[in-house]
């Protein structure tokens, strides 16, 4: 009654300005006060208005107010006359109808809340005892009542603030053999898990192990309550993740991926994501229990967006695990994820792309990726930098050492699309590097490589690609670009455009810079890395590109004119086999020109080339022989004979013990040379390592010390002259 009275006074406060009446003082209301449906108290309103007309007016108004605030008091069939002139326009009373009803409801709730709380407080101790009763029927009934109590907020709060009650519910749930009791108890915990206090109560009472056990229940509703409660705990309760892991939650959750309810699966997969993010052990448990197969199955067979999104998040987490990665790929993960790249859900598309990117280095040999490759090529037209980053990265890896994928991407316009991606990438290395790598893959080692080499030129890609060699140098992009230029130069039609774009001076300058860097660190054991790239790789790449560019006669002349021959001769002494190969290769091309051949000879290239004749690398030996043949064209027949001798005999062929003593320890070519000519390359003198009988034999094979003179090996002679055994044979 009191609340009701206050409520009415509040309404008058609200409404009085609208009625243009002074607000009646609360103290003028004389108890006992009863509101009659006819609003007879309205005589409290101002008495200054004309009594008859005003009374009639306020009576009608009162009826309208009553109908607006208490529509349930209207007698059936009763209607209130509208007061407005324009039926389309609401009166003030009508506008206030809804807010006043809300206020009424809130006050009724306030009144009821206290009742509910008091009732629950009185019932909890008794219910707690009943939940532990030996009689299953009693337990069942108690559980049902507790479940009912959780429907109202006041009583729910009382329940969650009683640790004994929560513990009793948990015990009842896990100990009962009755499905209905288990369901009620699980429902109670589920209801409690919507508040922090409830989560804490469940956690502290050991609810997590019990809930994990419920994941094996044959009853669907128990499963649902258990997984949802666990999900809430994982989301909002500190310590829950560890507790779930310790209770073998993952081992119970992964098999649930076979269920067919999409919403249930969405919650389950989200639980897996919460548990496995940043936790390697969890990822391995998921793998051991068949997680990849289950997750890929969902991606392949469902179309509920939320489920696909949560599942893709788990796959993304697992895709950084080296053990899970191949399992996901083997289960068809690439194809399944590729199905969802063109849908309307941007978050799903992006997650699938990141996951595919992570997996791509393990999928280079996968078959059945034609559809995925085509979609990725089309996504290269996107302006979204994340999409570009992923598409270029995936394409780069999927075209790595896979001639089928290379041919397919080339045939579906991949070259043009990648060039446009390079142009749009600007300084974004995460896009530029994989795009250039992909182009490099497409332009070599497959049936359509020549098609791709031509396509780069036809789509005006050459100037843009050469420009990537400019400063500021991001070395991974530079390394990829020199490799691409080398491949482009394999197409004779590209030679002139590459020259016109300024490729040669840029390559030579980069080579010089990188070589100087390696020389600076030659004395120390540490290798030089810049942006994760060794400078020896840049030396190799630039020299390799110049080698192929030198097949063009005009380019050949330009390369030689930049005083590169001495550097190439120096590189023959490199301890890196690939550097030896490309430097021998470029010298082989340059030696086609007589003038360059003479320069090569004058730089003393014969000595290292003689050594390289014995390389186990066929390419190196062939280039070295070709250079020697070309620079010996004008030499005496005796010289040519000795070259032939060197070709025919291998050093120490008849003295294997001596050969073993000087053989390099690793598989790479030995860091040695004839003599101690310092070129800055890391090596020791061969002769310094030879035993004396071997030296004598070596010299006999070569026909005596005087044979070394024409080859320009002065230093070895000086060295040998210091050996007592050979003093008598030393040539002055």
């Amino acid at each position: 009654w009191l609340y009701y009275n206050i409520y009415q006074s509040y309404l008058f406060l609200l409404l009085s300005p609208l009625f243009h009446c002074p607000f009646p003082s609360l103290f003028s209301i004389s108890p006992p006060f009863l509101l009659s449906p006819s609003f007879s108290h309205l005589s409290l309103l101002s008495a200054s208005s004309p009594p008859d007309m005003e009374a009639q007016y306020t009576l009608t108004r009162a009826q309208r107010v009553r109908a607006a605030m208490f529509p349930e008091t209207l007698v059936e069939g009763e209607a209130v006359l509208a007061a407005q002139k324009d039926p389309g326009q609401q009166t003030n009373v009508q506008q206030l109808a809804e807010p006043s009803q809300l206020l009424k409801t809130a006050i009724v709730h306030l009144i009821n809340y206290q009742d509910d709380a008091e009732l629950a407080t009185r019932a909890v101790p008794e219910l707690t005892k009943l939940l532990a009763d030996e009689d299953a029927v009693v337990v069942n009934k108690a559980a049902m009542i507790v479940n009912q109590l959780t429907r109202k907020e006041a009583s729910r709060r009382v329940l969650m603030s009683s640790p004994q009650m929560v513990a009793a519910v948990i015990r009842a749930m896990q100990n009962t053999g009755d499905m209905e009791t288990a369901r009620c108890a699980a429902s109670v915990l589920h209801s409690l898990s919507h508040q922090r206090e409830g989560l804490l109560a469940i956690f502290k009472s050991g609810g997590i192990p019990a809930l994990v056990r419920m994941l094996s229940s044959p009853m669907e509703s128990v499963l649902f309550y258990a997984i949802t409660t666990l999900h809430n705990l994982l989301l909002h309760q500190e310590g829950a993740k560890m507790a779930v892991r310790l209770a073998d939650g993952l081992q119970r959750m992964v098999p649930l991926l076979k269920k067919s309810n999409p919403k249930f699966l969405a919650i389950t997969t989200d639980c897996l994501q919460l548990l496995s993010y940043g936790n390697q052990e969890s990822k391995l448990i998921i793998l051991a229990n068949g997680g990849p197969e289950g997750l890929v199955f969902i991606m392949r067979n469902y179309n509920y967006e939320k489920l696909l999104w949560t599942t893709s998040r788990v796959l993304k987490v697992l895709s950084v695990c080296p053990s899970n990665k191949p399992a996901i790929v083997e289960a068809g993960g690439m194809q399944a994820l590729g199905q969802h790249l063109t849908g309307s859900s941007q978050r799903l598309t992006q997650n699938c792309l990141w996951t595919l990117r992570n997996l791509s280095d393990a999928a280079t040999k996968q078959e059945g990726l034609d559809g995925l490759l085509q979609v990725l090529v089309s996504q290269l037209g996107s302006d979204d930098v994340n999409m570009l980053t992923c598409a270029t990265g995936i394409l780069s890896n999927l075209t790595c050492n896979n001639s089928r994928n290379k041919a397919l991407v080339t045939q579906c316009g991949g070259v043009e699309a990648l060039i446009h991606a390079v142009l749009r990438a600007g300084e974004k290395e995460d896009v530029a590097e994989p795009a250039v790598c992909a182009l490099r893959h497409l332009t070599s080692r497959h049936q359509d490589a020549e098609l791709a080499q031509n396509a780069v030129r036809l789509h005006y890609g050459i100037p843009a690609i050469v420009k990537l060699l400019g400063q500021p140098h991001y070395w991974p992009v530079v390394k990829a670009t020199v490799g691409l230029i080398r491949n482009l130069a394999l197409c004779p039609v590209n030679q002139a455009p590459l020259r016109d774009a300024g490729a040669i001076p840029r390559l030579v300058n980069l080579l010089l810079k990188a070589h100087q860097d390696t020389q600076r660190h030659a004395s120390s054991a540490q290798q030089t890395y810049q942006d994760g790239v060794r400078m020896e790789e840049i030396v190799e790449g630039c020299t390799g590109a110049l080698h192929i560019l030198a097949r063009d006669p005009v380019n050949r002349g330009e390369i030689a004119s930049m005083q590169t021959i001495p550097l190439f001769v120096q590189l023959l002494y490199s301890y890196v086999e690939n550097v030896k190969r490309v430097s021998a290769g470029v010298l082989c091309e340059l030696a086609l020109d007589k003038q360059s051949a003479e320069m090569i000879d004058a730089e003393g290239a014969s000595a290292p080339l003689m050594e390289l004749l014995h390389s186990s690398n066929e390419g190196i030996a062939t280039y070295a022989a070709a250079v020697l043949f070309r620079i010996s064209e004008d030499k005496s027949s005796d010289y040519r004979k000795r070259v032939s001798v060197e070709l025919t005999h291998s050093l120490f062929k008849h003295d294997p013990v001596a050969w073993e003593m000087v053989r390099p320890a690793s598989g790479s070519d030995a860091p040695y040379s004839l003599g101690g000519v310092s070129t800055g390359c890391r090596r020791t003198t061969l002769l310094g390592r030879l035993p004396c009988p071997a030296i004598v034999h070596f010299i006999r094979c070569l026909g005596g010390l005087d044979w070394l003179m024409p080859l320009g090996c002065l230093k070895p002679i000086q060295y040998l002259s210091n050996l007592p055994l050979l003093q008598e044979r030393t040539v002055a």
Binding site: Y277, V320, G393, K641, S644
Partner: protein, 81 residues
């Protein structure tokens, strides 16, 4: 490269045999030959014919191999929606 001794062959014959092989290998690897070298091969067509079957069948020098890029080095958490 023929490193085995060939008894009964003169040094000149050895030289021709070796040079033919080197030039054929160069052609196989895509390199250019001088006019003299092309003429040399024409002059010793018989040796060329004999050497062709002894050339290695696999590709010799195709440049640097393709390399995969490792992207999955670290996890990134996306915003929970």
């Amino acid at each position: 490269m023929n490193r085995e001794e060939a008894p009964g062959k003169s040094p000149e014959e050895m030289y021709i045999q070796q040079k033919v092989r080197v030039l054929l290998m160069l052609k196989k690897m895509g390199s250019n030959l001088t006019q003299n070298e092309e003429a040399f091969l024409r002059n010793y067509a018989g040796v060329v014919h004999a050497q062709m079957s002894q050339l290695p069948q696999h590709n010799i020098d195709q440049g640097a191999e393709d390399v995969v890029m490792a992207f999955s080095r670290q996890e990134t958490e996306d915003r929970r929606q």
